[in-house]
């Protein structure tokens, strides 16, 4: 099982890794635009890598199984974030009709009262959701469309546009979409960098999962994405912290020892720390980081929240507040 030469080579890299871990990433904007003509683009090496994966992208038991599994938890993350943040009493003029939202943790209440309050809140949420306009979503770096399709099937979603720079992977996405008649009118795929999206196109939700760690200039990519967010709109991202644990789990174990992630998927020096993203947003008062959750893959169990967003993989929910 263990490919010893690779392991040894990887171990030799450990010293180099330490230096990669320390340098800052998100703000580095030294634009050496050699092969790239776009600032929100990705190197040719990376694109070649994804192109090779296209044909097996949708095999849930194939090379992308980990991504398929991650999709379960991130859909829970997106759904619960949206649900928790639905205004329950917006537009209610009469105090009597307001849903009671206590200013303290529900756990302090006796079980029956707690259940009654939760039940009341949940039915109100269902009602509000059923009357809300449906979401228009942009999925950046959609790949073969694992997340794109899941989003599109939600009854609360009107449409999803998926963009990517890998021709083959996007082709796989289109082919797979055609297999399910329920998706025909809900998804459109386009091969384009973010900066080519017309300025006037605005979205309720923008998603960028497992992508920032591949791009050359993440801050450019983030900024460009945010410019398409409607007021009160959401940006959901996931990426990986640049630390020893991440190197150990995603590259060393994932790609080389367990062979559960295709080799060459990750480059440690491109990982982005959660704190770096947090700091970046602090300077942008029109946005708020509403939620940030660490997550990890456990064999036999799948993806679970780790309780620590500054180690390994993490999901983040950012909202435009102004």
């Amino acid at each position: 099982m263990i490919k010893s030469p690779n392991v040894v080579r990887q171990l030799k890299h450990v010293s180099r890794i330490t230096s990669q871990i320390s340098s800052k990433r998100l703000l580095s904007t030294s634009p050496i635009l050699r092969h790239q003509d776009k600032k929100t683009s990705t190197s040719q090496d990376e694109m070649d890598h994804f192109n090779q994966l296209a044909s097996t992208w949708w095999d849930v038991n194939g090379p992308q199984r980990i991504l398929h599994k991650m999709n379960l938890l991130r859909m829970d993350f997106i759904q619960s974030t949206l649900r928790e943040n639905i205004p329950l009493n917006e537009g209610v003029l009469n105090k009597e009709e307001e849903i009671y939202v206590p200013g303290y943790s529900l756990d302090l209440l006796p079980e029956q009262i707690r259940n009654a309050i939760v039940h009341e809140q949940e039915s109100k949420r269902d009602q509000v959701i059923s009357q809300m306009p449906k979401y228009k979503i942009l999925d950046i770096g959609c790949g073969g469309g694992i997340l794109t399709e899941s989003l599109a099937r939600l009854p609360t979603v009107e449409s999803v546009k998926g963009i990517d720079l890998s021709t083959d992977v996007l082709e796989a996405a289109k082919l797979h979409k055609a297999l399910d008649p329920a998706l025909t009118d809900k998804i459109s795929y386009q091969l384009m960098p973010i900066e080519d999206i017309s300025k006037s196109e605005k979205y309720d939700i923008i998603t960028m999962f497992e992508m920032l760690e591949h791009v050359n200039f993440p801050s450019e990519v983030l900024g460009s994405a945010l410019s398409h967010l409607k007021p009160n709109g959401w940006l959901f991202i996931s990426t990986i912290n640049r630390d020893f644990i991440s190197w150990f789990t995603t590259i060393f174990m994932g790609e080389y020892v367990l062979n559960i992630v295709p080799k060459g998927t990750h480059h440690l020096e491109k990982y982005i720390n959660e704190s770096e993203v947090q700091d970046w947003f602090k300077e942008k008062p029109q946005f708020e980081v509403v939620k940030s959750e660490g997550c990890m893959y456990l064999p036999f169990k799948g993806w679970v929240y780790s309780g620590n967003a500054s180690v390994g993989n993490y999901f983040m929910a950012i909202r435009r507040v102004k």
Binding site: V60, K69, L72, M75, D76
Partner: protein, 474 residues
């Protein structure tokens, strides 16, 4: 040259005649309108999340007895009766079906007296509410009524459900384009489905199509069933089970002075019994609970030879001899109330098997109920296991839909299998071991086993554990 030409013509003609009408597109196609299939249908349509699914149920037999049961309730009890665990009933209540059950036709019972045919050791299972006897048709009817009720409440113009009976699935193929199952019916119609559920019983055509292997064996026993009338209504609502060398005989209470029988017998004797005249049949049942195995073997011998004259009186006489020395209270504690007659058309027999499918799910396939597993009826678990399957599958589908997944995806279906397989496997194993333990008649095993039964009787915690398994509580 001409050969090639002919060949091309033939293919052209073939494709012309074979071109089918576009298959009807559904989200879930359920094969089988038995207890498992109808519970799944009601469970999905009752779910806030899953009710939008377009569902078709295909049943080979006529469901008219199920459809008319509610308004034109028959006077006799059906011979297909199952004991429902509190857990199954709780789920039926949750999905709103239990409201539609004909309560006057179900019988809760709070204990089973288990005796052993050779040594007469006794084991009493007691629990406030062990289980409830309910005709399968009563259960199916309650589900059917619930489905109709949900349909009535639906405000959308389309409810997205169709129940087709008298229609058999004759072939299942795959769509060459997207690999979805295509189900061909004997009326010429075809359906294309996102998820194909096999609730189609032991011979499950869906399981065969999916290539899922099933392992197990025939017990070389048949279950002889019937509805009996007792001398009077018993004072206590309990079940009786006696382990005989050929397998267990069980008498379970129905309302009033009615009772239902499941008698596990050898192939030959089951055939003999189901052909015996009703009066003699009744006495053989009484005898099996009271007399020795040697006596019973003698009667079987006489019946084989066609010498049935005087047998009825003989059995009655021997029974009275056994009971002569006992007080009325003792008789009541040790034996069921004697049966006086049997509903003649209710005598039937079913093969008893153990089987377990290797997996319950494959791409766009899920198996529930007897399609996935069958068990010996001695613990009354078969139907209840299917109810547990359905609960778990509905949960998995809901979760999958909340995550926007394609419900035919194995990532959606695997949690169902992972949750149910170990539970069912344990139950099948326990029931199988009980059956084996009690089918030996050599002395050491009998001694050991009656010791076991007596010891069990005094070890209440072991019994509690077994009661909780039988009644489905965790």
């Amino acid at each position: 040259m001409s050969l090639i030409l002919k060949r091309t013509l033939a293919t052209a003609a073939e494709t012309l005649t074979k071109t089918p009408i576009e298959p009807k597109l559904v989200d879930v196609l359920i094969v089988g309108g038995g207890p498992a299939g109808l519970t799944l249908t009601a469970g999905l349509k009752n779910s806030k999340i899953a009710k939008e699914l377009k569902i078709s149920v295909i049943e080979g037999f006529n469901l008219s007895s199920v459809k008319t049961f509610h308004d034109e309730t028959p006077s006799n009890f059906s011979n297909r009766v199952s004991s429902l665990t509190p857990q199954s009933i709780k789920y039926l209540q949750k999905i709103g079906a239990w409201n539609h059950i004909k309560e006057e036709r179900v019988q809760p019972y709070d204990g089973i007296v288990v005796t052993e045919g050779i040594s007469d050791a006794t084991l009493n299972f007691d629990s406030p509410e062990l289980a409830t006897m309910c005709e399968n048709v009563n259960l199916q009817s309650s589900l059917y009524q619930r489905i109709k009720e949900l349909q009535g409440q639906e405000t959308n113009e389309e409810f997205g459900l169709e129940i087709k009976d008298n229609t058999k699935v004759i072939e299942i193929t795959k769509d060459p384009f997207n690999q979805w199952p295509i189900v061909h019916l004997d009326n010429g119609e075809t359906y294309k489905t996102r998820l194909l559920v096999g609730a189609d019983g032991f011979n499950s055509p869906v399981r065969k199509f999916s290539g899922i292997q099933s392992h197990g064996w025939f017990y070389k026993r048949f279950g002889v069933v019937s509805t009996l009338t007792l001398e009077y209504s018993p004072f206590r609502s309990i079940g009786w089970q006696r382990f005989l060398p050929t397998g267990p005989i069980a008498l379970l209470p129905m309302p009033g002075n009615q009772a239902t029988l499941v008698w596990s017998q050898t192939i030959e004797l089951s055939e003999l019994l189901s052909k015996t005249e009703p009066e003699l049949f009744v006495q053989l049942v009484n005898g099996a609970f009271i007399l020795s195995d040697a006596d019973m073997q003698y009667y079987y011998g006489q019946i084989r030879k066609g010498k049935t004259e005087g047998l009825i009186e003989d059995i009655k006489w021997r029974i009275s001899k056994v009971q002569k020395h006992l007080t009325e209270d003792q008789i009541e504690d040790q034996y069921p109330v004697l049966a006086t007659s049997v509903e003649p058309r209710s005598i039937a027999r079913f093969p008893l098997r153990l089987s377990h499918a290797e997996t319950y799910v494959a791409d766009r396939i899920a198996l529930v109920g007897d399609a996935a597993h069958t068990t010996h009826p001695l613990a009354g678990q078969g139907l209840n296991m299917g109810q547990g399957d359905v609960q778990s599958l509905v949960k998995a589908i809901e979760k999958g839909m909340q995550r926007g997944l394609d419900i035919g995806n194995t990532l959606v279906l695997e949690p169902y299998w992972a949750e149910r397989f170990p539970v069912n496997h344990l139950l099948l194993g326990v029931v199988d071991k009980l059956h084996k333990l009690y089918s030996f008649s050599n002395a050491p095993v009998v001694a050991l086993r009656s010791f076991g039964v007596n010891a069990l009787n005094s070890l209440s915690f072991v019994k509690d554990f077994m009661v909780s398994k039988v009644s489905g509580n965790k």
